[in-house]
């Protein structure tokens, strides 16, 4: 087993298959550490406050949900901030997943949102009250969302 130094409060990770790098969201230090496949840090990228979840789009971008600043940030594989999207009115953003050309996420107040063509869209109804993580089901073209308070996982068809 091997350990690698990252920032403070490492939270979640994502793998960038294009650059074969591992991205670690450091919640307490407001940055992302990028590691190569041997675990060596190659760069540190500043983010919004409390970055938590990451999602790779399968191409050149990595997406980061920033909890307390209520942002979803889009970075190039080299770490350049390309866009920043405010997630407002529905609580802090939590888990995110990328599929079919769109970024999907959940908020603490139970909304599912998507970012497509530079625009943020929210579900018209809440699906819970403390959503946490999200995963894509390729077999059914649907998303699964965990709800901590209700004790359920909900399927959403985008």
């Amino acid at each position: 087993m091997q350990t690698s130094p990252v920032g403070s409060g490492p939270y979640f990770m994502a793998y960038n298959g294009l650059t074969q790098t591992i991205w670690v969201a450091n919640r307490n230090s407001a940055n992302v550490t990028v590691l190569n496949q041997t675990g060596i840090p190659v760069t540190t990228i500043s983010t919004g406050a409390e970055p938590q979840f990451l999602a790779w789009d399968g191409g050149t971008n990595m997406w980061v949900s920033c909890y307390s600043s209520q942002l979803v940030e889009q970075f190039s594989s080299s770490g350049v901030l390309e866009a920043s999207y405010a997630i407002t009115g529905h609580g802090q953003p939590s888990g995110i997943a990328f599929e079919g050309g769109a970024l999907y996420g959940v908020t603490q107040n139970g909304r599912v949102f998507s970012i497509f063509s530079g625009l943020v869209h929210y579900s018209s109804g809440a699906i819970g009250d403390n959503n946490y993580d999200i995963a894509f089901d390729q077999n059914h073209s649907s998303l699964w969302v965990t709800d901590l308070n209700q004790g359920i996982v909900v399927r959403v068809s985008p």
Binding site: Y11, S124, N139, S141, L148, V153, V154, S157
Partner: protein
């Protein structure tokens, strides 16, 4: 009963307000009752859903097309992140015991690895382990 009605109402909201099902797509179940505090979730290539149950210290597995969970025990408390590798293993971060568990999905047998404090996320990079 109250707990049951609430998710059903959520499912209805999804069906009529959020969900836009594709024509001909079968909807098997639109919500799954996992128990307390489901945290991390992942879906494998066959459509099986795995959910870490933070408070219960278990993993709920919903086989593709099933709305009834199979519970997989973990040896440590507070599972959080989950990932599936190419060899039918489930990898789980155990936030309460500072370990990562590798669990054979078929047998439920696991191996525990000590890591740093309060591990959360886990990913699989696509290579064999």
């Amino acid at each position: 009963m109250k707990k049951l009605l609430v998710p059903i109402s959520f499912a209805l909201v999804l069906l009529f307000a959020v969900v836009r099902p594709s024509a001909g797509q079968s909807i098997v179940c639109d919500w799954l009752d996992t128990g307390t505090q489901p945290s991390g979730v992942t879906v494998d290539g066959q459509g099986n859903v795995f959910v870490a149950l933070f408070a219960a210290g278990e993993i709920a597995e919903f086989s593709q097309g099933s709305c009834v969970p199979r519970f997989i025990s973990t040896t440590g408390p507070n599972p959080n992140g989950v990932a599936v590798d190419n060899n039918n293993n489930l990898w789980v971060t155990m936030e309460g015991s500072d370990t990562i568990e590798k669990i054979n999905i078929s047998t439920g047998n696991g191996t525990s690895y000590t890591v740093g404090s309060n591990p959360r996320g886990v990913i699989f990079d696509g290579t064999s382990i």
